[in-house]
Structure formats: C-alpha cells, structure tokens
C-alpha cells in the first residue's frame, strides 16, 4: 500500500462537522417538519453508538484473540437476526430460527470463502478484514432475507387459492408454492442485481471510499470492491433462498396441505 497517511481529525474538527446537523435542524424548524427532537436524539445516538463500537473495535483490534472475534461475530449475528425479524411486516412462524439459520449459513459460507480462498488472510481472525466484511455481508443478507420473507408471505396470502388449486391437482406442497418462492427470490435479488448495474457510476461504494481515503490506490480499492460486490450478491442470494425455503416449509404440512390459518 502506498499514498499519504490519513489526516487525523481532532475533536474540534469533528465538532465542526456537527454544525452540518444545524442545517438540518434549521430546515426542520423553517418548514415545520417537527423533526428537531428526533434529529437531536438520532445525532446523539449516532455519536454514542459509533464511539462505543469504535472503542470495542479498538480493544478487539489490539487484543486480536480469535475468541473475541467469534463473540463479536455472534453479537452481530444476533442483532442482524433481530433486525430481520423486526423488518417483517407480519410474523412468520418460527421466524427467529429461520432468520438465524438463513443469515448464519449464508454469512459463514461467503465469509469463509472470501477470507480463506480469495484474500487468504493470515490468521483468519485478523479483525481488520473479518469484522468489516462480516458486517457488510450480514447487513445485505438481512435486508434481502426480510424482503424475501415479506414477499413470500404476502404472495401466499393473496394467492392461497392458486396453491390449493395446485395441491388439488395432485402437486406436492413444494411444487404448489414454487411460483411464490420464485417471486419472493426475484424480489429479494433484483436490488442486488440492479445495484451491480450502476455500481461506481452514481456514487462510490462506502468501502471503496474508505479505502481510498485511508490511502489505498484506487486500483487496489477497485479489486476489493469487485470482490465485495460478488460476495454480497452470493450472500443475499443464499440468505433469501434459505429464508424462503424454510419459511415456505412452515406453511406446508408433510401431507401436502397449506396451513392457511398461519397466513
């Protein structure tokens, strides 16, 4: 890596950045948006949360024991599971288990591949790599799993008679819900695909921006970004597939019946 070191920010300089929030507050007051209170709370939370995370990460980075990393990853998983469930418009039966399996398996697989096979980080728990990459994977997997789950549920509800018409013709439960599974997966994966279409054209992805700011050459940053884009695509596809499969099986019985009362 080459390039200038990052300019350190003094607390005073960070304070200058807070002035920008003043613009938002001013707009809120002038336009009677009544967002001032929320803005204040959100600003304080943003500062506090980021500092807290920064402190934890600093501690972990300096300790760099594998068990600390595992613990952090588990906490991230727990928060992501909770957030996935919270994003569902209606509860899915067994939603915590389903979300945990979908996020856990998709993140574990892509993380192991990207760190072990692609980047070949030594040791694997080097926090500088594993924590930000796991965070990006989980964040994307979470969004797409919730999107897929919502879509599956609303489709099963509005198209229940289609499912039962298929069942009545002698199709298996899996076959009968396949159209809804497909629609849910498409809905969850389209944002990823269209994101890949425009990546870099409108705005630079956050990680690339960070790397460039931190002094990496843009060409190296691009290589990392390409890797991340593909990793996230795989993770979102896996997470939504697992979520939709597991959720769909909750609505079916072994006797190929649709459990309509759950919808």
């Amino acid at each position: 890596m080459s390039g200038a070191a990052v300019i350190a920010l003094s607390p005073f300089q960070v304070g200058l950045a807070t002035l920008l929030i003043g613009i938002v507050v001013a707009i809120s007051i002038l336009q009677a948006l009544r967002l001032e209170r929320d803005l204040l709370v959100a600003s304080v939370r943003a500062v506090a949360q980021l500092y807290l995370v920064g402190l934890i990460l600093a501690a972990v980075f300096s300790a760099a024991h594998w068990y600390w990393i595992i613990l952090i990853l588990l906490v991230m998983m727990g928060v992501a599971t909770q957030a996935t469930v919270a994003r569902l418009e209606r509860p899915v039966p067994g939603q915590y288990g389903i979300a945990a399996i979908a996020l856990g398996a998709s993140t574990a697989f892509t993380l192991v591949y990207v760190l072990g096979v692609v980047v070949r980080v030594q040791p694997w728990y080097t926090p500088q790599y594993i924590i930000p990459i796991a965070g990006m994977i989980l964040g994307n997997a979470m969004t797409s799993a919730a999107l897929a789950g919502d879509r599956l549920q609303s489709d099963l509800r509005t198209r229940a008679s289609e499912v039962e018409a298929m069942l009545a013709l002698g199709f298996s439960g899996r076959e009968a819900v396949q159209p809804m599974v497909r629609a849910a997966l498409r809905a969850a994966m389209i944002p990823t695909v269209s994101g890949m279409m425009t990546v870099g054209l409108v705005q630079l992805p956050g990680m690339m921006t960070g790397q460039i700011l931190a002094g990496s050459s843009p060409l190296l940053a691009i290589k990392y970004q390409v890797m991340i884009v593909f990793t996230l695509a795989a993770a979102t596809a896996l997470a939504s597939l697992l979520f939709v499969w597991l959720a769909a099986s909750r609505y079916l019985t072994p006797a190929h019946q649709l459990r309509r009362y759950l919808l």
Binding site: A168, L169, G170, A255, Q257
Partner: protein, 281 residues
Amino acid sequence: MAPQVRARPEPFPSEADRNSSEVRLQTAALFEVNRLSVVYPRTRGQGPIPVLDDVSFSLARGSSLTLVGSSGSGKSTLLRCLNRLEEPTHGTVRFNGCDVRSIDPRELRQRAALVMQTPVLFDGTIRDNLRLRPVAHRADPSETRLADALAEVGLSSDFLDRRAETLSVGEKQRVTIARALLTDPDALLLDEPTSALDPPNVALVTEAILRLRQTRALTIVAVTHQTDLVRKLGGHLLYLVRGRVHAYTCMDGVDPSALGDTRLQAFLAGELTSRLEAYEK
C-alpha cells in the same frame, strides 16, 4: 345437540367389490366419514376455533351428496377433509375402504378431484391448463382426450388455443371441471361451483355437472347454496349447523314438503341464505 344421523351404505356393487379377494372389509361406500371433528389451532391472538363437530356419514360409490348450511357452518371444511386438503383433529375419513392417512395425498387428490368456488387457471392456453399435471403422472393426454374433456363440459375444442385470461368466469369454471376430469377421478368434489357465476352460466355449469354424473357414474359431493343444483343432483343431503349434522336425508323421490324439517324445507323452497341464517339464531 344435533341428532347423529348415519346413513347405511347402499348396496351398489362396484368393480372393487367384485375383484376383492382381500381380507380387508370392503364396502360399497366410496367415502366413509366417522366422528370427524376439525378445530383450527390457536393462532396469534385467537383461541382454537371449532369448525366441525362429530360428523359421520357414508356415501356410496356413484351416488351424490349435497352439503348445505349457512356460511361458517363448516361445509367447505368437510369437503376439503375428503381429499385431505384439511386435516381432521379427530375422527377418520375413509376413501374406497382405506383411511385417507394411509394414501399418498397427491394420489388421493387425483382420485377425488376438487373444483373450487373461484376457478383458478394459470398463465398460458387452455391446453396448457388441461395438461397441468404433477411430473410423476405426466402421461400427456392426447389432443383427442383434451377435446373430449372440453366437450364433456360443453366447450368446443377451439378453446384449446385460447389464452386462459380471455375466458369468462363461467367458461373458466367449466375448464377447471374438464381439468379435474382428466385424471379419471372416482369422485368430484364441488365447492360452491356456481356461486361465482351469473345465472346463464349457473345453468350451463349445472347442466355440465349433471351430464357428467350420468355419463361417468361419478360420485359427486357438492357444497352449494343453489337449491336448483340440490334438487337436480338428488342423492343425499347433509345439512350442517355450526359444524354439526342437523339433518341427513335422502332426496330421491322425496317431496321436499314431506321432509319434516322446517329449516330444510325452507332451504329447498329456495329461501335466501340470510333467512336460513335467521332461523339458526
């Protein structure tokens, strides 16, 4: 408490009977429902909901049964128990002498074909819809068979190339009946087959059902509010009130006024369902 009426199986020798050398007790009944209860499980914010309570009847092969009752009386649920789209909480359903739980549900549903209130056709042509079969059973029906199936419900073979969405509801319903016939089922289960239709189409669909009953010797179980269909179908009539059998009676050659049950008489006299519901209160 509603009287527990039980029909005796009618002697009606079927092929299964004649060929039977099995130890298993063979009856002429195609469907035997024994002390069936359905309770929908507790879901968020709701306690368990009883839908059917201790329903028993049996239905001979080749005969017909009409399920009547106000909405919410459990008649559709009862019908859906017959092809196991619904799982009984207690009691048994036997099909052709076998407990339905011992039959692959996919097989059962091809032998006891269900036609729903609102016809469901999938994207594509009528031919695509008629050929829609699980992979395991994809003995693709010939063009002649498809045309014959359409003819049985009074539609010409020109319909084969029509796109599903261009059909009227009445035509769609007849296509779903034709689709159900293509597995050569033993029984046709009809869930309010005419209630989504306008009067001319009601007549056409009713006519198609009656014709089928004669030509195919099908066992027919129909949920319906149409007194005309009840009368023309004949056979037995089972009247459900809040999930229980209120009356079970044979309609053949019986003058409705001699049935001795005021609610049933009212129903058969063609009174509106709302009046019927008022009686039940």
